[in-house]
Symmetry: C2
Subunit: 123 residues, 2 copies
């Protein structure tokens, strides 16, 4: 049975109110505003549970911690800024690239990640 704790609720609320994927560390800092004593281990434990339950989706980026965002935002492509390191959601698209995979591979999911400079960092 899963309990409804103040920590879990705070962590979830942080992600519900953010429009870009966050690192565990970022989640911790934001959630501490509501639950000051919050520990990083609790953040990791809850992100894992929420991900396993399909509530969160993950975005992996090269040489940096994984990012998390609400799965109900739908499948997204992402963009990592090579200057500020933030990761952004791209607009939804109808691109379904599974057709590019040989038949004997069973595709369950996919991820598209762009690299470059975000608007703020490109001038």
């Amino acid at each position: 049975m899963i309990r409804r704790t103040e920590q879990r609720y705070a962590i979830r609320r942080v992600l519900e109110h953010t429009v870009r994927p966050l690192t565990p560390q970022e989640v911790l800092e934001k959630a501490k505003a509501t639950v000051p004593g919050l520990g990083i281990a609790t953040v990791y434990r809850n992100l894992k549970v929420l991900h396993q339950d399909g509530i969160l989706s993950t975005v992996e980026v090269p040489g940096a911690p994984a990012r998390y965002e609400m799965a109900n935002r739908g499948h997204r492509h992402h963009f990592q800024c090579e200057s500020c390191n933030r990761v952004f959601d791209m607009p939804k698209s109808s691109f379904t690239p599974s057709a590019l995979v040989p038949e004997n591979f069973k595709v369950r999911d996919h991820q598209v990640l762009f690299y470059g400079f975000c608007p703020e960092c490109s001038h």
Copy 2:
């Protein structure tokens, strides 16, 4: 000035003779066949140099070390098996998804990764 050492050559040769992206650990194990005393730090240092020189490309996968492969294989999409954790190259395709990114983001590169079960693990 860059020197031609036995270790660097062995590391490079391992990657030239492999058809899927390898982890630093895998590179170490294979290269040790030629250079028994080889250390993991040397592998990391050389992978970094070879990557910076554009000779290798990297593939990042969730919750696992980065993989490296020869950049001259061309731009590839990849497939990670969720059972055996190996990463495979997909056939080349003409898919160029930069059109899916808003204009004010400057795209320099992109990566497509599929998850699922490879042929060997799907029966």
